[in-house]
Symmetry: C2
Subunit: 328 residues, 2 copies
């Protein structure tokens, strides 16, 4: 079978590709395990090269997710699964509404339509976000039954994506699953345009000996999950039986609800003597306004019932990052 990962050369896309390569098999449209003979990472812009575990085993293909013919050409086999990760992120979408609509909404519809055109019923895993939640008066605690009242254009496009995945699945056009992700940590490299970028930064920059400027206060609580669990859970959600997910195909991913203070304390423990860069709060109202709308308490009963898991604590997440990206 063929596997497509859109946004595939991004951080999660590459990690997911490596895990899928290592597995070698996934459940195909027929419902049985199938050998993967083609793995394509689709992205707007390709990096100069792919990291070692992927070289020679995957195809990287650049294109515009908002171009229907490009997506039809990408989803060109009946024995196929798609992980649709491509997205304009939160602060980026606030800056450019039209781009967010074009990439997230029109692009998402192109993916759905291309799957629908296949003779099979392809499995599709769509990455939604906890940013679908949060309006004044909705309360800080969210779960799979909480009304989605996004306060960002990013969140709006994700909520719409969940609705469309549900309907395309109900109609039998495809077999969709939406992964409602919390903030993913620890992202390596540079800060990105996600409003939540600082949550990785508060761990990554000090470990690199660099200063970290936090746009929000230390008592800010964020639901987070380590990228290792994110990747495993995306695969588990792909493999889950559709009936076990139910009519609402969206699943709130597991998360740990931790404050920035707790993250910093865990960083001190996990750093094991490394010299850490300084952390300083420098309030940024535009970011703080977005973050204030996000939930601080999460329930994930459906994910747990499907066998999805979280790291036991934040220390484990930080140690994994040190192991994967900083070596000894």
């Amino acid at each position: 079978m063929k596997v497509v990962i859109t946004g595939g050369t991004g951080f999660i896309g590459r990690m997911l590709a490596a895990r899928i390569l290592a597995r070698g098999k996934l459940t195909g449209p027929s419902g049985t395990q199938a050998q993967i003979d083609e793995l394509v990472l689709f992205d707007a812009v390709l990096p100069p090269s792919l990291p070692a575990p992927l070289t020679g085993h995957v195809k990287a293909l650049s294109g515009d997710v908002a171009d229907p013919s490009a997506i039809e050409g990408l989803i060109d086999r009946d024995d196929i699964s798609v992980f649709h990760l491509a997205s304009v992120v939160s602060a980026g979408a606030e800056q450019d509404f039209d781009l967010a609509m074009r990439v997230n909404l029109d692009g998402g519809r192109n993916i759905l339509e291309a799957c629908r055109k296949r003779k099979s019923t392809p499995r599709l895993v769509f990455t939604s976000s906890i940013a679908v939640f949060g309006a004044p008066g909705m309360g800080p605690r969210v779960d799979d039954l909480t009304k989605e009242t996004p306060q960002t254009t990013y969140g709006i496009t994700k909520a719409i994506g969940e609705l469309l995945v549900n309907d395309y699945t109900r109609k039998g056009f495809l077999d969709g699953r939406s992964a409602r992700l919390p903030t993913v940590i620890v992202r390596p490299g540079k800060p990105n345009k996600a409003a939540s970028s600082f949550v990785s930064g508060v761990i990554r920059e000090p470990l690199n000996g660099e200063p970290c400027h936090l746009p929000v206060g230390l008592d800010t609580i964020m639901p987070v999950l380590g990228y290792r669990s994110i990747v495993e859970n995306l695969i588990r959600l792909h493999e889950a039986a559709g009936e076990a997910i139910g009519a609402d195909r969206a699943v709130s991913f597991p998360s740990l609800d931790v404050s920035l203070s707790e993250m910093i304390a865990a960083l001190g423990r996990a750093a094991a003597g490394r010299k850490l860069g300084p952390i300083e709060v420098r309030p940024e109202p535009a970011i703080a306004r977005i973050v204030a709308g996000w939930p601080t308490g999460t329930g994930w009963a459906k994910a747990a019932a499907l066998g999805l898991t979280a790291e036991p604590d934040i220390d484990t997440i930080i140690r994994a990052y040190i192991e994967d990206f900083l070596g000894n």
Copy 2:
């Protein structure tokens, strides 16, 4: 100012146009009452003629809501308000998914974009539906805080419309309000493709001395509202202060939760000696499946706080229909 009603030659559109004509004024984009000098009913297909109160006072214009240039030409003044009623209805959308996406989703986006292009911040009233609710396990009772898990393509497009109206409003592109309508009764004329068509039929057909075939059992409870209240409430929602509606611009309309048995009993009282056509239950599984997903208990605290109202009882709704459409 100019007022546009899409789906304007339909039943609610015509009633709404007559009420707006009688008022003569609405709150314009500047926030103050303005005289209406242009009222346009936009629709896919126009009737041969408009009823008496509208003749000579309104323009009827045919066009495709999914055609961006047609909609830009329609929403062509800065001092404007739009009532966006045009929609493929429930059973119709189940039969033709692509048409529903084209008219309800693409068409809705065209309306939003045309309002955004104005130099002002036009008020927009979008008619959503109680069909945004209803998935296995979500329970029969719904209100403004209930998660929207539509089980029809119609409901999906309405839920998406609410999300888009919220975001266009949040961004300051327009001043939107979504009216989440229950089943509107008593619609005159012939049955339509709405899965709820029988709820008007059970009153209308017997009063016309014709037989009524019910596709669902007599114990089926439907949240309903009379068309007079629907029209008044659409205007009240248009006139409400945006801050009073809040960040979620969707408002569950008032409704009466009544069983078909109760409607038939009220019909007997209101008919006042008229000879009624026979009512017979003839189960239709396709309709029953759609209706089974709909809520049977409604909360409408936000609507009440905004001054929206319901008829006191079902008898009042039936008497109004007799008065408006059957005379003596």
